[in-house]
């Protein structure tokens, strides 16, 4: 985003200032094969108490972004540029000690696979109490009471007994509930949920999603919800960021992005998904090709090798100029607004019925 100006966000008429603000974030990893540009110039804002959904395929940089916010990358192999402001505090340049104060306290994370994210060596209760004792200076007794209260809140039966259980004694859904309880122990202002339900069955997923939503209303945390499932995101998020190959390609409220998508990649995602009430005789319309390697990403717009609409753009804009993503509701595409409108109405919308 070269056109980035530090203007206040236009789309928030309520005047609520952003609580987390990421500006022109670049994350690079040096590997044996070369430098991987995992995130390339990403900017977004999260408001207090709101949910930002980030969707994208594997390798689009959504998890990398969030590990960067938490400061979990190895500084020896990664280069991080840009700005991450959490409640006015700069995180990119923060020391390890400062980050430690924030992690588990002001910001917490729910991981995809609770079996690997929970330690098999300690009881669930101990793992829940630890951050509370560390950050809030609570006694063991207070931490235990708090942990039992949280376990009950997330729907674990007999929380007093289960407090002393090990993670392997919990079922998959229960483990994810325990993870949620753990992340909420210190009442964090920011919760990052990285594919929290991908490993779960649909009926359990539905329970966990509703639980997370209701808990958010109670705790008022801001949530960054990462997933590859557009259905899940339409259920969970207020705002949506679509990522492709390390860049944001479209941004807006969930309704705007899903009802009137403006980027060819979002069109592709929506029309390649079968729907429960769709026409069964209609073939799916997949996106041709495969996601690019980030070792050697395409020039210009990174989606251009898979895009069906490059022909409608003048000259070689798509192949040599990176399309800018404006603030607010925007899509990073060289097509003009009218072109997007006509293509969506004529070609894309009929497929989604």
């Amino acid at each position: 985003m070269t056109t980035l100006t530090k203007t206040e966000d236009a789309p928030a008429p309520s005047g609520s200032e952003s609580f987390l603000s990421v500006r022109d974030l670049r994350v690079q990893f040096s590997t044996e094969d070369g430098i991987v540009k995992a995130v390339d110039g990403l900017s977004f804002d999260v408001e207090r108490g709101k949910t930002l959904g980030i969707v994208g395929e594997s390798g689009s940089g959504k998890s990398v972004t969030n590990l960067t916010i938490l400061g979990l990358h190895n500084p020896r192999t990664s280069t991080i540029d840009g700005e991450i402001l959490l409640d006015g505090k700069e995180l990119v340049t923060a020391t390890e000690k400062e980050l430690e104060q924030l992690r588990g306290n002001k910001m917490a994370m729910i991981f995809q696979d609770p079996l690997t994210a929970l330690s098999p060596y300690y009881t669930v209760g101990r793992q829940l109490s630890e951050p509370y004792m560390k950050h809030k200076g609570a006694s063991k007794k207070e931490a235990k009471d708090r942990a039992i209260q949280m376990l009950e809140k997330v729907g674990i039966p007999q929380p007093k007994v289960r407090f002393d259980d090990y993670p392997h004694q919990f079922s998959g859904g229960m483990r994810q509930r325990a993870m949620i309880a753990m992340s909420l122990m210190c009442d964090p202002d920011l919760l990052i949920a990285d594919e929290p339900t991908t490993a779960l069955d649909v009926t359990v997923q539905a329970q966990i999603l509703d639980l997370l939503k209701d808990l958010q209303q109670e705790f008022g945390s801001a949530i960054i919800f990462i997933t590859h499932d557009l259905g899940v995101i339409s259920h969970m998020a207020d705002d949506l960021l679509v990522m492709y190959a390390g860049r944001a390609v479209e941004r807006g409220s969930v309704k705007e992005v899903l009802h009137e998508p403006k980027h060819p990649y979002t069109w592709g995602l929506l029309s390649s998904m079968p729907r429960l009430d769709g026409d069964i005789h209609e073939m799916l319309t997949p996106i041709p090709g495969t996601p690019p390697s980030l070792l050697n990403p395409p020039t210009g717009c990174r989606f251009h090798p898979r895009c069906a609409f490059t022909g409608e753009v003048m000259g070689t804009l798509c192949t040599d100029t990176r399309p800018p993503l404006a603030d607010g509701r925007a899509s990073a595409c060289h097509l003009t607004a009218e072109q997007k409108q006509t293509i969506f109405i004529d070609k894309i919308q009929p497929r989604l019925r």
């Binding site: 594997s58 069955d201 009926t203 079968p274 989604l352």
Partner: protein, 380 residues
């Protein structure tokens, strides 16, 4: 939404009168659990599949859905005889193959092929793509017209890969391309039935549609019957004319596509459909019922007595614990739509007057929220 579905439904119900290709009766697989010291004895059994009845017609595509651990993959492996069934009967084209020996099975094996879930572990990394696709023909001593290599190149072209890539190794391909190689291998012997075990769930969303379209093309153009095992209900609906829903080793409901997706009767089918997260493209798309179950699937080592779903069911009564509901056609169901339930639901997926929320934590939170903010709509 229902009017554009009336046509395929009629087609679906006539499909059941088609010639039967594969028939499964009372199929059972119990994996023994050994324990004790010093002599290990059988102390129990995982009842992975427990009395499954299923038919697949010639050229028909049957979907098998259910959550993890419900026995759908085991059923697929029993049908391909990769596992030995504990009890039950598998009939292929009128021939009983349940206990057939290796030699008796050889001609049948080539007609029933399998596509696996993980395109990374199901291809031998030391063999070239050509060798991988050719080997089923070598094993069965089949010499196609123009030689095996020509056939392999044709197959590669059919599944949308470059025939020039004949000598490449699997690691040179992406996940979606590898799954295409798996499809080409399954097609090498001109099978009559393909058991596809979660063929797209390991792939990215944009690639899933490519493989689903390929399978659909193969099914329609070559007339191959499919047993399509998946947990994604939307993909199964897209692909299958008939659908069977499994829960804890049993088929709880089976019927044509329209019956299962628009007129389900079993509470579990209702719960499963309502749990699918759908993209709300229109504003009016929110008229689906909302059911939130509690807890996970019980252990198949000691499944609940009677109806296996009763521990998570909101309609369960004493009868459900004592008597196992048979898989029968309930009055009001179409032909071939069978349900195993004592107290079936109404055949609709429309929103109910009151949501079914069994999760106590969710219930408590929603009560609080409703109490605080007055008449709050709790619809998802």
């Amino acid at each position: 939404m229902s009017d554009n579905l009336t046509l395929p439904a009629q087609k679906g119900s006539t499909d059941t009168s088609k010639e039967t290709l594969l028939e499964v009766k009372g199929l059972t697989k119990h994996f023994p659990i050994y324990g004790g010291f010093p002599i290990k004895r059988k102390v129990g059994a995982v009842q992975a599949v427990d009395g499954v009845d299923l038919t697949v017609g010639v050229g028909e595509s049957v979907g098998l859905v259910g959550e993890s651990g419900c026995g759908k993959s085991t059923t697929g492996r029993l049908i391909t005889r990769l596992l030995e069934p504990t009890a039950g009967k598998i009939t292929y084209l009128g021939k009983d193959i349940t206990r057939a020996s290796r030699r008796q099975l050889a001609p049948v094996r080539s007609e029933i092929q399998m596509i696996f879930q993980d395109p990374y572990s199901s291809l031998n990394p030391r063999q070239t793509v050509g060798t991988i696709i050719k080997s089923p023909m070598e094993v069965n001593g089949i010499e196609p017209e123009g030689g095996r290599e020509k056939k392999v190149r044709e197959l590669l072209e059919l599944v949308g890969l470059n025939p020039e890539h004949y000598n490449r190794f699997p690691h040179e391909f992406s996940g979606g391309q590898r799954q295409r190689i798996g499809v080409a291998r399954a097609l090498a012997l001109n099978p009559k039935l393909i058991v596809a075990d979660e063929p797209v769930s390991a792939l990215d969303v944009s690639i899933q549609a490519q493989v689903v379209n390929l399978l659909q093309k193969v099914q329609q153009e070559l007339g191959i019957a499919f047993l399509f095992i998946a947990h994604d209900l939307a993909i199964v609906r897209h692909f299958s004319q008939r659908v069977a829903v499994m829960y804890l080793g049993k088929v709880v409901e089976v019927g044509d596509r329209d019956s299962i997706y628009n007129r389900p009767r079993h509470p579990y089918t209702h719960a499963l459909l309502s749990a699918v997260p759908e993209v709300a493209i229109d504003d009016e798309a929110e008229d689906r019922e909302r059911i939130r179950l509690y807890g996970d699937v019980p252990s198949p080592i000691s499944p609940p007595s009677g109806c296996r779903f009763r521990t998570r069911c909101w309609k369960a009564q004493d009868k459900c614990a004592s008597e196992e509901p048979p898989l029968v056609q309930i009055s009001g169901n179409r032909d071939g739509h069978l349900t195993a339930c004592h107290f079936p639901e109404d055949p609709t997926t429309e929103a109910r007057a009151e949501d079914v929320v069994l999760d106590p934590a969710l219930k408590a939170l929603e009560k609080d929220a409703a109490g605080e903010s007055g008449p709050k709509v709790t619809k998802g």
